[in-house]
């Protein structure tokens, strides 16, 4: 079934807000000035952060993949208790809401193609960055593009569901 990405983004808007906030917080962490932030809007792109190019490559990488870290972490923590409630057949309305929130946030963990472009331009196409940085960053950009391509096949939602519902079970299996 084909559902336009914008509709999915609207339905999962909490994830978009967290995604942009993660970019902004990583900019603040690395003392990178931010010029404009749009946390959510019902058009493409659904959110964005405009900031000064970071001074160091690792800062650029972290600002780009910040949402992947923050969104995945929140998705897992929020999803964990709800997933276990489902396991114990005692899920209530709150758990369905928590699961929705967790999957929404997880679905927007993947950096966008815009993030990949920023990373590509700032590191791979730059004349000032080292070859090592380019070698490290190129697969990350490729990974981001694959993720963006995968969203056509609901990879973003599948990823969110896997982190929110599958990972808790895997961890329990590991603890047993």
């Amino acid at each position: 079934m084909f559902i336009p990405g914008i509709l999915i983004s609207i339905a999962t808007f909490p994830g978009v807000i967290v995604h942009e906030l993660a970019h902004q917080l990583f900019c603040r962490l690395f003392k990178v000035p931010v010029f404009e932030v749009c946390y959510f809007r019902p058009e493409n792109p659904v959110g964005y952060v405009i900031h000064e190019p970071a001074q160091k490559v690792y800062q650029t990488v972290f600002i780009s993949v910040g949402p992947f870290i923050i969104n995945s972490l929140l998705c897992f923590v929020i999803g964990f208790s709800a997933a276990l409630q489902f396991k114990f057949d005692s899920a209530n309305v709150l758990d369905y809401l928590l699961m929705y929130l967790a999957i929404s946030i997880g679905a927007h963990a993947f950096p966008s193609t815009g993030d990949a472009n920023s990373l590509w331009n700032a590191v791979v196409k730059s004349n000032t960055t080292s070859w090592l940085s380019k070698i490290v960053v190129t697969p990350i950009v490729g990974f981001i593009y694959v993720g963006a391509l995968g969203s056509f096949f609901w990879l973003d939602i599948i990823y969110g569901s896997a982190v929110a519902m599958g990972l808790p079970y895997l961890i329990i299996k590991f603890l047993v």
């Binding site: 906030l21 964005y48 405009i50 208790s81 276990l84 114990f88 993030d115």
Partner: protein, 347 residues
């Protein structure tokens, strides 16, 4: 999405490249990608987060805290359930039952936990726990065919020990001490549970050949019949066929690797053939599984007795007798007392 490019807050017409690109008042700080003055840089680093986003963030934080608090309880239950599932796969039903008790303390109505509890308690012959778990899931439908077949197999296993002909069972119990009557009744029933009961009473008469013959006939009908196999271990032990006795014990342990009675029986078999070290290992294993199990305490008492630790063996006998005042079943103390008090020669 993130983009990184310079600001364009000042109109192009009055733009002075030597001043801060944001405020056009102060001179910019050199060494950065964007020509910003120190004040603008500081303020843009701390680009304001709108109030509604802060509230949104606080909401998410609250949800995270609630999740973390709730998760602790569920992690513990989920880990115990996982351990129980593993124990059931490995046929360690005593461990499984203990783990499931911890799960059911928190989630008394959980279907899978109750279904697994039926399985574990069935192989532990814990009728009361089996019945409680059964009552909780009896009316629940499931599409889990594997679980259903496991539960059904366990239910058949526990049901095998119940005689169907209760009238005949009463006749057998009434004739328990009369060998001739027992032998007369033997041919008037085809029910293997009843035949095994008769063999059990005949065991007390020490007619081991007859008991073995009855048990073999029962096992021809059902090779896995627990009571018959259990009786066979005692017959083989008392007829000095120790290796065969141990082999039958292992057959029983294949159904439940943590059957304390059978592990204790192995200790008693090893003691009978004067393999005291091996017996001590089995007795310790049985006690480790449940320090309050009378079969395990009996095995330890016998190990202590034959190792010359009479004080310890008498203490164990006292413990068994204390348990028996609650249970009302004095089978074990009656069997053990003559041995450790010296009136019966065990070996």
């Amino acid at each position: 999405m993130q983009e990184n490019h310079p600001t364009q807050s000042v109109t192009e017409n009055h733009f002075n490249e030597n001043l801060c690109v944001n405020c056009q008042v102060n001179s910019y700080e050199p060494g950065y990608n964007t020509n910003l003055c120190s004040d603008c840089r500081k303020s843009l680093i701390k680009y304001p987060i709108p109030k509604w986003i802060k509230f949104f963030g606080l909401g998410i934080l609250a949800v995270v805290i609630v999740s973390l608090v709730r998760t602790q309880k569920y992690i513990s239950a989920a880990v115990h359930l996982g351990k129980a599932e593993n124990a059931i796969d490995q046929k360690r039903f005593l461990t499984a039952q203990r783990e499931l008790s911890l799960v059911l303390n928190q989630f008394p109505g959980h279907f899978n936990a109750n279904a697994y509890m039926m399985v574990a308690s069935a192989y532990n012959f814990d009728y009361e726990t089996y019945q409680i778990a059964f009552n909780k899931v009896a009316d629940v439908k499931t599409e889990d065919e594997d679980l259903l077949s496991t539960v059904n197999a366990a239910s058949e296993y526990i049901a095998q020990s119940f005689p169907k002909d209760t009238l005949m069972y009463k006749r057998i119990v009434a004739a328990a001490k009369d060998k001739e009557k027992l032998l007369a009744i033997l041919d008037s029933t085809d029910e293997i549970a009843l035949k095994t009961h008769i063999a059990n009473f005949l065991f007390e008469t020490r007619d081991y050949a007859r008991v073995d013959s009855i048990v073999n006939k029962v096992l021809q009908v059902d090779p896995d019949f627990y009571q018959a196999l259990s009786l066979k271990t005692a017959v083989k032990r008392n007829t000095a066929k120790y290796d065969e006795a141990l082999a039958v014990c292992d057959r029983l342990l294949a159904f439940n690797a943590e059957n304390i009675y059978v592990i204790s029986q192995k200790a008693r078999i090893e003691l009978k053939r004067k393999h005291d070290k091996e017996a001590a290992v089995f007795a310790s294993k049985a006690l480790a599984l449940d320090p309050n199990d009378d079969s395990a305490i009996e095995a330890k008492a016998m190990v202590d007795y034959f190792a010359g630790r009479k004080k310890e063996s008498l203490a164990s006998l006292a413990k068994i007798k204390a348990h028996e005042t609650q249970s009302g079943d004095s089978t074990i103390s009656k069997r053990l007392s003559p041995i450790i008090l010296g009136s019966e020669i065990y070996r």
